[in-house]
Symmetry: C2
Subunit: 429 residues, 2 copies
Amino acid sequence: MVVSISDLKNHVGEKVELRGWVYNSRSSGKIKFLLLRDGSGICQCIFFKGACDETSFEKFGELTQESSVKVIGTVKEEPRSPGGFEIGAQSFEVYQIAQEYPISPKEHGVDFLMSHRHLWLRSKKQTAALRVRAEIVSAVRDFFDGRGFTLMDAPIFTPSACEGTSTLFETQYFDETAYLSQSGQLYMEAAAAALGKVYCFGPTFRAEKSKTRRHLIEFWMVEPEMAFYDLADNMELAEQFVEYVVQRAIKNRPDEMAALERNTDALAKVKAPFPRLHYKEAADMIKKENPDFVIGDDFGGADETIVSSKYEKPVFVHRYPSNIKAFYMKEDPDEKGSSLSCDLLATEGYGEIIGGGQREDNLEIIEVKIKEHDLSMDDFKWYTDLRKYGSFPHSGFGLGIERTVAWVCGLQHVRETIPFPRLYGRSYP
Amino acid sequence: MVVSISDLKNHVGEKVELRGWVYNSRSSGKIKFLLLRDGSGICQCIFFKGACDETSFEKFGELTQESSVKVIGTVKEEPRSPGGFEIGAQSFEVYQIAQEYPISPKEHGVDFLMSHRHLWLRSKKQTAALRVRAEIVSAVRDFFDGRGFTLMDAPIFTPSACEGTSTLFETQYFDETAYLSQSGQLYMEAAAAALGKVYCFGPTFRAEKSKTRRHLIEFWMVEPEMAFYDLADNMELAEQFVEYVVQRAIKNRPDEMAALERNTDALAKVKAPFPRLHYKEAADMIKKENPDFVIGDDFGGADETIVSSKYEKPVFVHRYPSNIKAFYMKEDPDEKGSSLSCDLLATEGYGEIIGGGQREDNLEIIEVKIKEHDLSMDDFKWYTDLRKYGSFPHSGFGLGIERTVAWVCGLQHVRETIPFPRLYGRSYP
């Protein structure tokens, strides 16, 4: 019977067939040890001379790292073995003897590993991080699906920019020019008028010519948008959401956290409510430790850390100056020059993971803003329509998946949080 | 208390506040009727002269279609009312009186509706179809997440083509050229070697200069890939998957099916196992009814219908000639010239919804195929690496979400199965 390593607990004492790859092998006289990985886990298979078939025992030495094999043997409980079970092996068969594997336990440079991403994926920490990613994606969807939201996929090809025109990828769309989406938000505003509470979740693109540990060219973002929510409602939803995602990841993925050597004590404290700081409070805090900071400017990564390091929980900064936020942000009617925006800064110096706020719902104001931002009124006709036909207060936010995965996994660079990262100067493999 | 229309059942007898848009309104002497929609449902609000406040009664006539309002009143059970509840209204407040709404109950042309997609979304059938889409997406993920699969998002930017070079979207990726993904499959093959059973689920792109009811330029595809699966295993998984998705959609979305006037009797029969036809059997079947069909060619839409109309369940066609399938398809070792491929044709003439098969795992053969298909060996170096380092039998398939939604909803055209369709000549709104 063919079984997965993760399913061995249900087959103790049975004869099973495992299929996978040689993770490691060694011989010691009359015993040969094979660590087999099959994608669901790693299992030790032991070949005793006499107990296994003779050919398997003799040919054992031919097995190279990453050779693909099937192993037949009996499942035993063995607490000292990785995974808690081992196989008393009777025989193995080879699918293919692997050529010399380029990734060895010795240290490799980042460039080398990135060029071999298709193989690097097989490493223990990489699979652990990507399993955490999958758990986080699943938690994100369950959170919204369970709260009356409808998934509304936003288009990738868009006729217009929404987050500034300097970082757009352009493509020929038959006889027109189209751009790759930087955010699905504007489309979610239309969708919220149809379905009330909606979210999109897909890849977004920013042509940023910079190499930082927080930026990918292609990254996944979840963007909920809620009809009749104001800024306060928005922050309340965001904190419940982040609590849910983080707590579920550490609860459901303890083995992966261990493989990543991630101490999750700090994450366990990520519970709503989160502190809320007015931009001015945050700016004053930064100014004290970074005298070069200009009050009124956006925060740099180091500035964010000055603020977030004061708290054990993620912290909201709200009411950023209108002039450093996107055109669609509503101005606070009680505070001229401040926008009804909010960013959420993660703990442990991981910086901004959420940006959002309340949207401008007044037709005249949004038209002025579109002009001020040099955007095309024709491209945005559909968007201004939303302010003509039953305009409504609404808010939403976007959470970057890769930054969230990096934070939860304790990874220093977002490149390990997505299966095939796209970075400035890298689109291979 | 602010409540959703879908949640009224929990507030019978209570005074509540609803927020939404005017779906319809009419007056009849001392009674005024307001049909309110809030995205979660539609509810009748009744204003009796004397029972509601005077200003609301007087100003009622100002309410235009799609005006945004809040209504305060008491929840009553009322079986004759849409949704089963109605509101004995006390007052309303206006967010915005809508300008004359462009979409009226009269017939509109498709072009007009597509140009007003951002508003058309609010129509009853459109929201119903998109809720079914969301249910199908959720079912897809639950199916794989519950069976030991790991989600592995495939990249959108790729250095190379995989489904033929004629339908590629190109973009400048800094100093290089990159293409928008036509399929995540090749990447899933690398991922399957790391994690055993994986799937990707994201947007894919084909620059097809044709307007048919089955093609979108931008469409979502789910692509599972399984290590150590052969063609037979692949078909078994695919039929369980399709059964699960279809049965869950009709079970969980009866109201939407009713709104779409979809008779689900045919869908109720979509239960595994599905019939399996060798390409030659299917080709003979087609030839009898379409004498122009050339045996050895791929099937057209009408040809697919000839085959699928013979069955009450979806039908697999397997072992298509190798020369009409992609370079990565494995040839049947027992049947020269035939590939270990399978397509699944839906019932009721909806055509192909799944394409898949077993992948070529031999290094020498895959290198010859890459050359034969005029693909760049450099771009595919990473892909051939998978055949050097522990090559393994593996299979997978891709299911197109929009075609599946069209089938389940009984829609004639895929353009209504995605919030913002991208078609030849259309990228707005």
